[in-house]
């Protein structure tokens, strides 16, 4: 049993950071992203004996994470988590506006934020995690065709937003 526990600990150590970054990119709020990851890992822990036998446990975790991110389940289930600290950590809301879209990528990130959640999630999985479309489909629990069309629409909207932004900037005042 200790070996099984060690396997889970290794899974947490090896995947938490990427799961958290993925969640953050999808939901745009660090506190909510932490909640989502915590909920996801709790669920993985509960089913670990079965999950551990999967070829890619992280794909299962990713699917839970994305599903919760898109359904808002993480927000509703915040209290179902376990947190043991000597000093209560700062809350996400207290850390200030972490969703900073300034800098070199301001326009692109602004356009990304404005996308519908499913389009944003597909683009995050595809272009942040560099997942093949089939794995994106598995994470999103949808067909390959849906991934392709959703990604295409998302990119088109980003492109349109950037074009509009450039046009606006080029108007002489």
């Amino acid at each position: 049993m200790n070996e099984r526990r060690a396997d889970f600990d290794r899974f947490v150590a090896g995947n938490t950071d990427t799961l958290l970054r993925t969640a953050y990119l999808i939901v745009g709020d660090l506190g909510e992203a932490e909640d989502l990851v915590q909920e996801t890992l709790f669920e993985v822990a509960r089913r670990w004996p079965r999950v551990a036998r999967m070829e890619r446990p992280v794909a299962y975790a990713r699917r839970i994470l994305v599903n919760r991110a898109l359904s808002g389940a993480g927000r509703r289930a915040r209290r179902r988590r376990e947190l043991a600290v000597e000093v209560p950590p700062e809350r996400g809301a207290d850390t200030g506006p972490t969703y900073d879209i300034g800098g070199a990528h301001h326009e692109l990130l602004s356009a990304l934020v404005a996308l519908p959640p499913r389009q944003r999630a597909v683009l995050v999985l595809r272009y942040f995690l560099d997942l093949p479309e089939a794995e994106v489909a598995a994470a999103m629990k949808c067909s390959l065709g849906t991934v392709k069309s959703t990604a295409s629409r998302g990119l088109a909207r980003l492109e349109q937003a950037l074009r509009t932004s450039n046009d606006t900037r080029s108007i002489p005042t």
Binding site: M1, N2, R4, R5, F8, D9, V12, A13, T16, D17, L20, R21, Y24, L25, L30, A33, E34, V37, Q38, L41, F42, V44, A45, R46, R47, W48, P49, R50, R53, R78, R79, R80, R81, E82, L83, A84, V85, E86, V87, P88, P89, R91, T95, T98, Y99, D100, I101, H105, L108, L109, L112, L123, V124, Y127, F128, D130, L155, L158, E159, L162
Partner: protein
């Protein structure tokens, strides 16, 4: 344009992801994701237990904690103490201000042992506990998927182990009791007896160290009984639903507790 857009998008996403503080992932890896163990066993006749050499009939409090006792838990007592003025209110303030599995749950019971206050918050399907000590506050959440009804003369116990940031182990036991149960004294596997606080259909106790509960002596309105807790090995590959068998958890620092597997099967 699309190729360039994809390149730019990758760069933008990486840049935004880099805004996530390293400490945030550290907080998440320090969480104990192990569900509580939940065990219920039929009571054993007092006479049978007495013949095996165990104490029965009276509440026995042994203050010795063994080598795992820690200065972090100085002042702990095996028997609940009367709260100092303001102790309960102070604990409630600390617990309910921390970020929270506690949010929205009503306070059910508080247990005080010297400077420590252990509180349980729960509704019909979810519970959370909080231990407030002189130098720390620990909030733990737990999920139960079904409302609990405990038969008379029994308790249904959740138990778990953890460590504080310095690696000092402690254990908690809490649960529901049958309506006729008026007192609960836990006997740990090293022989230590810990008297629980009982009220409102709940009992709570905790102790420094990683000892597991062997049995509970229950005072009831019609006498007393002893409920034993076996520690069966988890079945290989079991656990696709219900309790996990990840074993003892980690503490706030994320340090391994080094505790032995306690068992995970549920018997009702």
């Amino acid at each position: 344009m699309t190729d360039q857009l994809e390149t730019d998008l990758r760069a933008a996403l990486r840049a935004r992801a880099d805004q996530v503080p390293v400490a945030a992932a550290g907080r998440l890896t320090g969480v104990d994701y192990r569900p509580r163990t939940r065990r219920l066993r039929p009571p054993v006749a007092i006479g049978a237990l007495a013949s095996a050499g165990a104490a029965a009939g009276a509440l026995v409090v042994i203050l010795s904690l063994g080598p795992e006792a820690s200065n972090a838990f100085a002042g702990w007592t095996a028997k609940p103490t009367v709260p100092a003025p303001g102790q309960l209110a102070g604990a409630r303030t600390s617990c309910e201000q921390s970020q929270s599995p506690i949010a929205g749950l009503p306070l059910q019971l508080s247990d005080t042992r010297g400077p420590f206050t252990f509180s349980i918050y729960a509704d019909s399907t979810t519970s959370a506990t909080c231990i407030k000590g002189p130098s720390f506050t620990v909030v733990s959440g737990s999920m139960s998927s079904y409302p609990v009804t405990v038969p008379a003369g029994h308790i249904l116990m959740d138990s778990s182990h953890a460590t504080d940031r310095a690696g000092a182990a402690y254990s908690v036991a809490e649960g529901r009791n049958g309506s006729d149960v008026t007192g609960v004294t836990l006997t740990l596997d090293d022989g230590t007896n810990v008297q629980a606080t009982v009220g409102n259909g709940w009992f709570v106790a905790w102790w420094p160290g990683s000892q597991v509960v062997k049995s509970a002596e229950l005072a009831t309105t019609s006498g007393s009984t002893t409920q034993t807790f076996e520690l069966p090995p988890a079945p290989p590959g079991a656990g696709s639903s219900g309790a996990s068998d990840l074993g003892a958890g980690r503490g706030g620092s994320g340090a391994r507790s080094g505790l032995s597997f306690q068992g995970s099967s549920s018997s009702r």
